[in-house]
Amino acid sequence: MRRAYRFCLLLYPRQHRDQFAEEMLGVFEEAFAGRREHRWTWSVRFAFAEVTGVVAGAAEAWLCLKPAPEVRTTPCSNLPQELVAAQQRVDANIAGMVHAIANHQFERARIHSDAERRDRESLRILREKHGLNS
């Protein structure tokens, strides 16, 4: 069980592992030892919950590591300014949404998502206006 858990910890980014892996392993062992007298069904549920927790935790740790997508600030010279500005709004909302999700700020993520949908629609209209839709 210990080896399997240690293997699962490899899913985390290196910085996270350096900081928490040994401690997580210790806590996992304590939690497992504390309940060993229970039936095997408990052990299966325990292992399932732990693996799910590690996978979710690792995904979140990677998300937090990944820098938010950069907002394009240098406009492409041959595109109309209003189109560039609309694209920047879309990018900024996506960056905000990713950051909010990574920080569990789901209300804020929803606000960014709604704004992104509106801005993307404006962008589509502008692209049509400038004959850029393929």
Partner: protein
């Protein structure tokens, strides 16, 4: 149709359940990882059994936010990393509990009003 969006000030963002439980657990005294899991299970009346992945994900965020701090507990058999609330964490917990109290009051008031009809 009016679209209403609730905006929280940055310092009063609503907390997720694991974060709220961890802050509540640490409000009493500093604890190490396994003690946190046990206390959270007791606090929630056995409803929440936090996995180590969930616990350390939340601890990582809380450390990043500066709401808790880590230190080495030396009075145990082997040295363990323990966690305690910072002043900022205590303030966040207070804000969240006040928010919940307000919501609970409003909820009970509405239930009473509905029963009275």
């Amino acid at each position: 149709m009016r679209h209403v969006v609730t905006q929280f000030p940055a310092e009063a963002k609503p907390l997720t359940e694991p974060v709220l439980l961890i802050l509540t657990s640490l409000a009493g005294q500093p604890r190490h990882g396994y003690a946190l899991i046990q206390d959270i299970e007791a606090l929630s009346g056995g409803r929440v059994r936090m996995s180590t992945g969930t616990l350390f994900g939340a601890l990582h965020r809380l450390l990043g936010d500066g709401w808790i701090e880590r230190f080495e507990q030396e009075d145990t058999a082997r040295q363990k990393q323990a966690y305690r609330l910072t002043a900022a964490g205590r303030k966040q917990l207070q804000i969240e509990l006040d928010r919940m109290k307000q919501l609970t009051r409003a909820g009970f008031a509405r239930l009473k009003a509905a029963e009275a009809l």
